[in-house]
């Protein structure tokens, strides 16, 4: 799975670089800030992957970045994500003598919000790779749906998200561009359901592909 997305990322960057080589490689203006609107695909890892194994394309990210000095930027990200999967017959044991066996459906709905600091290696170029780090928190709802029963827990957490990516501008004077980014996310979030689930430090990887609005 990881290899596939590294390959996709490499392909997108390669195509973008090739396209950029056909046109002048530098922007006709100095960007002051940019805003991103990205489609986010989530790949759960570790214990989180045992909870929901499927990759999920249900995610949308809004971000803003402001150039501070040279290629250094600071900004924010807010995201909506959902991962979900159906499972076969499993028994859930409650804390009060109850138990239920049925097909069940698990999902986690997340609203992460982070402050971000990043460094653009070539901020004035058509293709501008960057590395960054997001620090913030998440609101998560973990739902275990057993037929009509919806058993859920809500959690707030602290999270760290190192990220690599690239801005690919559509033209020398265009205010629009594309964003491709890949990140790893570590959180203090956990999933606990009576005697059935106990996992902590949920982790995931995210692939973001989206549009960028560049402001001079």
């Amino acid at each position: 799975m990881k290899k596939i997305f590294i390959a996709i990322l490499a392909m997108v960057i390669t195509v973008s670089v090739a396209k950029a080589q056909d046109t002048p490689s530098s922007l006709g203006f100095t960007p002051g800030s940019y805003y991103t609107f990205s489609w986010n695909t989530t790949f759960t890892m570790g214990d989180f992957n045992k909870w929901v194994g499927n990759a999920s394309p249900a995610g949308f990210d809004l971000g803003g970045r402001y150039f501070i000095k040279g290629g250094l930027v600071a900004g924010f990200n807010i995201l909506w994500q959902r991962v979900s999967q159906s499972y076969g017959y499993e028994t859930y044991y409650g804390e009060d003598g109850g138990a239920i066996t049925a097909t069940n459906y698990r999902f986690t709905w997340m609203v992460p919000f982070q402050g971000v600091i990043a460094y653009h290696i070539m901020p004035g170029k058509m293709v501008s790779p960057y590395i960054g780090l997001g620090i913030g928190g998440d609101y998560m709802e973990h739902h275990l749906m057993i037929q009509e029963y919806d058993i859920y827990k809500t959690r707030w957490d602290f999270s760290l998200t190192p990220e690599v990516g690239a801005l690919i501008k559509f033209g020398n004077y265009s205010s629009w561009g594309a964003l491709v980014a890949f990140n790893y996310k570590w959180t203090t979030n956990k999933i606990e359901f009576a005697n059935n689930w106990a996992s902590k430090n949920l982790q995931m990887m995210n692939l973001k592909v989206g549009l960028v609005l560049i402001v001079r």
């Binding site: 609107f37 489609w39 986010n40 249900a58 995610g59 949308f60 909506w80 994500q81 959902r82 979900s84 159906s86 017959y89 028994t91 044991y93 409650g94 009060d96 003598g97 109850g98 138990a99 239920i100 066996t101 049925a102 097909t103 459906y105 999902f107 709905w109 709802e141 749906m145 057993i146 037929q147 009509e148 629009w176 989206g210 549009l211």
Partner: protein
């Protein structure tokens, strides 16, 4: 301009799809077989010895409710009996010497929106007449509750007939609700497996031998 509009619409669609908290119900396999059990954790279920259970069960139907039996029902009651015996309980044919009375009912073709435990107790034949003293039953715990009721559902109540309350109500110490079991879609082996599972998932029962 057209490209930007398409991109904006695409973005808006993705945004709306991703912000929805609940996935579509079609993904969730609703109305599938469900085995739900609950027991009174304040009582030691290993302390009981004798139980009484009729070979016929209360069939609850829009047209022909009453105590009935069939090959499926016989397989069902035999499996309940087998599970009880393997956990050390002894069946008695004299209801008055029993510690526990097991009442089994089968919702044949009644559809209601909300299941209120115990509503079927009023159906004819659910328990032997003139035996309980007229006090009725109650659950000492919050019982099985399901918001959708399907046909083919089996309900099993295990009543502690030796310890009625002062107002003569009989406490139900264990109950099981198996939705969609007797719809005609399941084999006898599957019916037996579901009964086994109902006992297996009740951690308060004595260890199986």
């Amino acid at each position: 301009m057209k490209t930007k509009l398409i991109l904006l619409l695409l973005g808006a669609g993705l945004f709306l799809a991703s912000c929805t908290k609940y996935p579509p119900s079609s993904d969730r396999l609703l109305e599938d077989l469900v085995i739900y059990t609950k027991y009174d954790t304040s009582v030691d279920l290993t302390k009981f010895t004798y139980y009484y259970m009729s070979d016929s069960i209360a069939v609850i139907s829009d047209k022909d409710s009453g105590m009935k039996t069939s090959a499926d029902i016989q397989a069902l009651t035999a499996r309940i009996s087998q599970n009880m015996t393997s956990r050390g309980y002894q069946r008695t044919t004299n209801a008055k010497t029993a510690d526990l009375y097991i009442g089994v009912s089968y919702i044949k073709n009644v559809n209601i929106n909300v299941y209120y435990p115990g509503w079927y107790w009023g159906y004819p034949g659910y328990y032997p007449p003139n035996y309980w003293g007229g006090g009725g039953y109650y659950y000492p715990y919050y019982p099985t509750y399901i918001t959708t009721y399907s046909t083919g559902t089996i309900l099993i109540d295990m009543m502690d007939v030796k310890h009625p309350t002062t107002d003569k109500k009989i406490p139900v110490r264990w109950n099981a609700y198996i939705r969609g079991l007797l719809t005609g879609d399941h084999t006898t082996a599957q019916i037996e497996q579901c009964i086994d599972q109902a006992f297996k998932q009740t951690t308060g029962f004595p260890v199986q031998h």
